[in-house]
C-alpha cells in the first residue's frame, strides 16, 4: 500500500518530472499532481490513445500486450504505463534541465 505511494512520490520527485496522473479504465483521473484542467485533458486524450495502441498490438497478435507507450515531443516526454484497470501517465522533461 504505502510502497506504492512511496514509489509515486519518488517518481514525482525524480529529476525532470513535471507531473503524474493515475487514470482508471473509464478515463477518469483518480490521482494527479497537476491542475484540474490539464489533468482532465491529458486523461481523456491519453486514455483513448493508449487503448488504441493496445488494440493495435493485440490485433496483430492476441497473445501480445502493450507494456508501455512513450510519446516524445519537442518540449517533453509523455510516458504511459497501461494496466488492466489503470493507466499511469507521467510527463517528464528528459535529460536536459
Amino acid at each position: 500500500m504505502s510502497e506504492v505511494e512511496e514509489m509515486l512520490k519518488r517518481i514525482q520527485g525524480h529529476k525532470g518530472v513535471i507531473g503524474i496522473i493515475v487514470v482508471n479504465s473509464e478515463g477518469i483521473p483518480i490521482r494527479t499532481t497537476l491542475d484540474n484542467s490539464t489533468t482532465v485533458q491529458y486523461a481523456g486524450l491519453i486514455h483513448n490513445l493508449s487503448n488504441k495502441a493496445r488494440s493495435v498490438v493485440r490485433d496483430i497478435d492476441p497473445q501480445n500486450d502493450l507494456t508501455f507507450l512513450r510519446i516524445r515531443s519537442k518540449k517533453h516526454e509523455i510516458m504511459v504505463a497501461p494496466d488492466k484497470e489503470y493507466i499511469l501517465i507521467c510527463i517528464q522533461n528528459p535529460s536536459d534541465n
Binding site: 514509489m7 488494440s55 493485440r58 508501455f68 510516458m79 489503470y86 507521467c90
Partner: protein
C-alpha cells in the same frame, strides 16, 4: 287496395255498367257521391231491364242518400277518362341546387300499381334454372323431350300424313310417354330426391345481440432496468474470452480433484479481497514500469553507453584498457554502511544483490540487504533491514528467490524474496549451531540426496558448516574445523584441544564437487574435501596477512587466485605449493574475481579506490587497467563482481555505494581469429590458452602431476 280500386274500377265499370253487375250494386250503398247518382240511373235502367224477368223489385233508398232535385239529377257531368293516376301528387317540388331554388317537378310518375305478386317461375334457359336442373341431374333433358316433342309432333303430323301409323304413333306414344315420364320425373325429382335450397325468397334471420359495453383497463409497469452495453469485437477480445473460458474450466477441474486444498484457496481469496479493497495498491505494477521509464529517461545516456559504447581509443592502445563508469547504485539508508558483499542473480540478468554491514569491529550497527535492478538505479527493488551487519550473501543458482545471508553475529539466514517478510524465512539459532564469530562467506550447494537445499558457511570461529533446509528449520553439520596446527595440544584426560584458525574465504571447485579451498586469517589456504572432515588435503602458505578472497578459475580446473591484505594477488596451481604469478598492487586488496568470459582475465580492487584489471594473455606482469573509480578519496573498495552476461563489473565500497563500470574492448579480448579459421570459443580454448601461458611460466614440472 280493393277499397281504393273501387272508384277507379268504377270508371271502366261505368262503361261496362251498362251490362250490369248485380253484385256491385249492393256494395255501393253507403257512399253518397255524385258517381253514385249516375249509377242509380244505371241501376234504374238495369232495374227496368231486370224487371222484365225479375219479380217486382222495390227501390231501396239508403238513409243518407243525397237528396237532389230532379234538375240536379238531370245535370250532366262530363267525365273525362285519362290515364292519370288520381293519387299521384301533382305538385312535387324539388330543390334545385343549380339554381338554388325550389322548383316544381315537371312530370310526375303516373304509374299506379294495383297488385303485385312475386312469382316462382324461372325461365328455362336462364342460368339459375340451368343450375337447378343440373343439380336435379337432368341437365338438358327437359329441353330434349320438348324438342323431341316438337319433332315428334312434326313427325306425327308427317306420319299421319304419310307412312305407317304404328311407328310414328309408337314414337309419338313413346315420345308422349317420355314426355310424360320426363315431366313427371322432374316433378317427382323436384319433390322427392333433393331438397333444393330456396333460391327465391331468402329470409335472413338476424338478431342483434346485446353488445357488452367495453371498458378499457391499463396498468403502467415499471420499466425493466436498462443498461447500455457497448463493445468491440476484436480478434484479441475473442482470444481473451477463450482464455478465460479455459481458465475457468481448469479451475473447475482442479476443484473437483483437490478439495482438500481449501486452505490455499481461502488464503488466495483473502489476498484477492485485500488487493481489491485498496485501490492504490493495484497500480503497483504500472507504477514500477513508470518508475523505470522515468529513470531510463534520466539516465538515458548511461543506458546507451552500457549498450553501445565501445572505447574506440583502445585500438590505439595495445596493452591498455579503460573502465567506463555507468550507474551508481545507492540507497539513502545504506550510505553509512559498507558494502560487504555483492552477488549477481543467476536468473534475472539485471538483478544484483548488495549486502551492507560494517567491517569495523567497534562500530557495529544494523545491516541491510538491497537488491537493485539495472533498470532502476535510483531505488532498490527489494530492501531488507537486519539487526546485525550482513557480511555475505549468495543467491541460489536454481531458485533465484532464495538468498542465503551470513551475519556479523555469526548467524545465518535464508531470505525468500517472493514473500514480503522482513524476516528471513529461515534463521539459525544459537542452539542450532551458529558461528560464534562473523560469518565471512556463504555459498549454496547442490541439493543433497533428499532434495533439500543446503549451503555452506565459513566463520571466524574456524568452522565450515553445512546448513540444510529441512521444512522450516536449518540443520547444521560441521564440515570441517580449521585447525591451526597439525599437532593438537593435550587438554588433559585424553581430550585434544585444538586452536582453530579463522576462516575468511572459501570457494568450491566448479567441476569436482567435493573439492574446496579455504582461506584463513593467518594467510593460509587449505585445500579440503567434503568427505574428509578432520584433515586438509593440502595447505598453501599463501600470504602474510589474512586471505581476503580465494577463487577457482572459471575454466581451468587447476588454477585459483587469492588476494590478501598484504597487498598481493597470487595465482596458484593447486598441485603446486608455489604461486605461479604474484602481483603487488600497492594497497590492501579487498577482492579479486575471474572474468566469466576468459580464463586469463581477472580484476582486483584495493583500498585506495582502484580497480586493477589484468589479462595474462596480453601482459603477464602488469595490469591492463588501473583506474580510480571512486569520487571521494579514502574510499576503500571492498568487493568486485563480474557480470556473467554483460561486459561490466560492479564494485562496492565502504561508503555504501555500488558503482558499475563497463569494460573496454581491450579488457575483453578474445584470441585473435586467424583468417579463414573460425574463432573457437569455449572452455577448451580457454584452458588451452591458460596452459600455454603456464607452460611459459612454470618451471619444468615434476613428474608427480
Amino acid at each position: 287496395m280493393p277499397v281504393a280500386a273501387k272508384p277507379a274500377l268504377k270508371k271502366p265499370a261505368d262503361t261496362m255498367s251498362s251490362q250490369g253487375i248485380a253484385s256491385k250494386k249492393a256494395s255501393k250503398g253507403g257512399k253518397g257521391k255524385t258517381p253514385r247518382g249516375k249509377d242509380m240511373d244505371d241501376m234504374s235502367e238495369m232495374g227496368e231491364v231486370g224487371d222484365e224477368w225479375m219479380q217486382q223489385k222495390t227501390m231501396v233508398k239508403p238513409d243518407d242518400q243525397l237528396e237532389l232535385t230532379e234538375q240536379e239529377l238531370k245535370e250532366e257531368f262530363t267525365r273525362i277518362l285519362t290515364a292519370n293516376n288520381p293519387h299521384a301528387p301533382q305538385n312535387i317540388v324539388r330543390f334545385s341546387f343549380k339554381e338554388k331554388v325550389f322548383k316544381q317537378v315537371a312530370s310526375v310518375d303516373q304509374l299506379a300499381i294495383h297488385f303485385s305478386l312475386d312469382g316462382n317461375m324461372l325461365h328455362k334457359d336462364s342460368d339459375e334454372a340451368r343450375r337447378q336442373m343440373a343439380r336435379g341431374g337432368l341437365a338438358e333433358a327437359p329441353s330434349e323431350p320438348t324438342v323431341a316433342e316438337g319433332e315428334e309432333k312434326a313427325g306425327e303430323a308427317a306420319a299421319e300424313g304419310g307412312e305407317g301409323e304404328a311407328k310414328p304413333e309408337g314414337e309419338g306414344g313413346e315420345a308422349e310417354k317420355e314426355e310424360g315420364a320426363t315431366q313427371t320425373a322432374p316433378a317427382a325429382k323436384g319433390g322427392d330426391t333433393k331438397k333444393l335450397t330456396n333460391q327465391f325468397n331468402f329470409s335472413e334471420r338476424a338478431s342483434q345481440t346485446f353488445n357488452n359495453p367495453y371498458r378499457e383497463r391499463g396498468t403502467q409497469t415499471e420499466p425493466p432496468p436498462r443498461v447500455n452495453f457497448s463493445s468491440t469485437a476484436n480478434q484479441w477480445e475473442i482470444y481473451d474470452a477463450y482464455v478465460e473460458d479455459i481458465q475457468r474450466q481448469e479451475k473447475s477441474k482442479e476443484k473437483k480433484g483437490f478439495r482438500g486444498q481449501q486452505e490455499s484457496t481461502s488464503r488466495k481469496k483473502i489476498s484477492a479481497i485485500e488487493s481489491q479493497g485498496d485501490d492504490i495498491s493495484r497500480i503497483e505494477k504500472p507504477a514500477k514500469i513508470l518508475e523505470r521509464m522515468v529513470n531510463q529517461n534520466t539516465y538515458d545516456d548511461i543506458a546507451q553507453d552500457f549498450k553501445y559504447w565501445e572505447d574506440v581509443s583502445d585500438e590505439y592502445r595495445e596493452q591498455e584498457g579503460t573502465l567506463l563508469p555507468l550507474w551508481k547504485f545507492s540507497y539513502e539508508k545504506s550510505k553509512r554502511l559498507a558494502v560487504t558483499s555483492l552477488c549477481w542473480d543467476p536468473k534475472y540478468k539485471d538483478l544484483l544483490a548488495v549486502g551492507h554491514g560494517s567491517y569495523d569491529f567497534l562500530k557495529q550497527t544494523r545491516g541491510l540487504i538491497c537488491l537493485y535492478s539495472l533498470k532502476n538505479p535510483s531505488f532498490p527493488e527489494f530492501i531488507y533491514n537486519t539487526e546485525t551487519g550482513v557480511m555475505c550473501l549468495d543467491i541460489h543458482p536454481a531458485y533465484p528467490h532464495l538468498v542465503a545471508v551470513g551475519f556479523y553475529d555469526g548467524s545465518v539466514g535464508v531470505f525468500n524474496l517472493t514473500e514480503k517478510l522482513q524476516e528471513p524465512m529461515y534463521k539459525c539459532t544459537a542452539k542450532g549451531g551458529k558461528h560464534t564469530d562473523p560469518v565471512w562467506q556463504v555459498k549454496w550447494q547442490k541439493d543433497d540426496l533428499d532434495n533439500n537445499m543446503n549451503f555452506f558457511s565459513i566463520g571466524g570461529d574456524g568452522r565450515v558448516v553445512s546448513w540444510t533446509l529441512v521444512k522450516n528449520e536449518l540443520l547444521c553439520t560441521d564440515v570441517i574445523l580449521l585447525k591451526l596446527d597439525e599437532s593438537p595440544a593435550d587438554g588433559g584426560e585424553g581430550t585434544q584441544l585444538f586452536t582453530l584458525g579463522c576462516g575468511t574465504a572459501f570457494d568450491f571447485h566448479k567441476q569436482t564437487d567435493y573439492l574446496f579451498l579455504v582461506g584463513t586469517e593467518e594467510g593460509k589456504i587449505h585445500k579440503c574435501s567434503k568427505a574428509y572432515s578432520s584433515q586438509f588435503l593440502d595447505t598453501f602458505n599463501a600470504h602474510n596477512m589474512a586471505v581476503q578472497s580465494v577463487r577457482w578459475n572459471t575454466f581451468h580446473p587447476k588454477i585459483f587466485i587469492s588476494c590478501s591484505a598484504d597487498w598481493t594477488v597470487k595465482i596458484w596451481e593447486h598441485t603446486s605449493n608455489m604461486p605461479l604469478f604474484t602481483f603487488d598492487l600497492g594497497s590492501s586488496v579487498g577482492d579479486v574475481a575471474w572474468a566469466p568470459y576468459s580464463s586469463t582475465v581477472f580484476a582486483a580492487v584495493t583500498s585506495d579506490g582502484k580497480v586493477h584489471v589484468f589479462d595474462l594473455n596480453v601482459n603477464k606482469y602488469e595490469a591492463l587497467c588501473e583506474q580510480v573509480v571512486v569520487t571521494k578519496k579514502k574510499t576503500k573498495l571492498t568487493h568486485i563482481e563480474f557480470n556473467p552476461n554483460y561486459p561490466m563489473i560492479i564494485v562496492g565500497d565502504d561508503r555504501g555505494y555500488v558503482t558499475s563500470l563497463k569494460l573496454s574492448p581491450n579488457l575483453r579480448k578474445m584470441p585473435k581469429e586467424k583468417k579463414g579459421v573460425e574463432a573457437a570459443k569455449g572452455p577448451e580454448v580457454e584452458i588451452a590458452k591458460m596452459d600455454k601461458l603456464l607452460s611459459l611460466v612454470r618451471e619444468p614440472p615434476p613428474e608427480k602431476k
